[in-house]
Subunit: 117 residues, 2 copies
């Protein structure tokens, strides 16, 4: 088991991403479309952290980047995830957690335009 598997699956957001790429690859865009309550950038950052933890692989093709879980990296944790996803009670729990941690819109803070060097 990858050492960071435990902290990776502690986050409901990352668990949701893992579920989407568990049984096949998905583009970053498709993943984002499945979680419209966060920005594309936020999804991309979570994907990066999963890749850096060795838990997800990426395959670039054309303009897209296809992500998929490296299931062998999860060891026994993988079974726990699969069990959770199969369990309807867990689905409700996940919805509640996402609702709870939803961030509201933020006050502006425009950055100055950076010149191309």
């Amino acid at each position: 088991m990858e050492p960071d598997a435990l902290s990776a699956i502690a986050s409901p957001r990352r668990r949701e991403i893992l579920r989407l790429v568990w049984n096949g690859e998905q583009t970053a865009g498709a993943i984002h479309r499945s979680m419209p309550d966060v920005t594309f950038g936020a999804v991309s950052l979570q994907l990066r952290s999963l890749v850096e933890a060795g838990l997800v692989e990426v395959r670039p093709q054309r303009q897209n980047r296809y992500y998929r879980a490296r299931r062998e990296a999860f060891g026994p944790v993988g079974q726990i995830l699969e069990r959770m996803w199969a369990d309807a009670l867990w689905k409700l729990q996940l919805a509640a957690e996402l609702e709870q941690t939803r961030r509201g819109p933020k006050p502006r803070a425009r950055r100055a335009k950076k010149r191309k060097v």
Copy 2:
């Protein structure tokens, strides 16, 4: 499995506490003596969060409070914990994580003495 089991075991500090109360009860003081790099208050707070998550039980007796893991609340996660504790590589990993997240001493900031009302 309790819904918060996953985030509970993501923290190396809470995993260490759970290990101490896994096979029998321990007083808060005994737990603290096993982790002298944090204050008693910090241990007490972690114990509280574990109790609130339904993962640990407390039994008050005399001036002491005895804590023990509610192993049935962990489901398959319990096996993962036991496996980790039996595994020397995981022990090294834990030591590294605890070392990494150790907080240094802090700059003072005395609070005003609160009068007894």
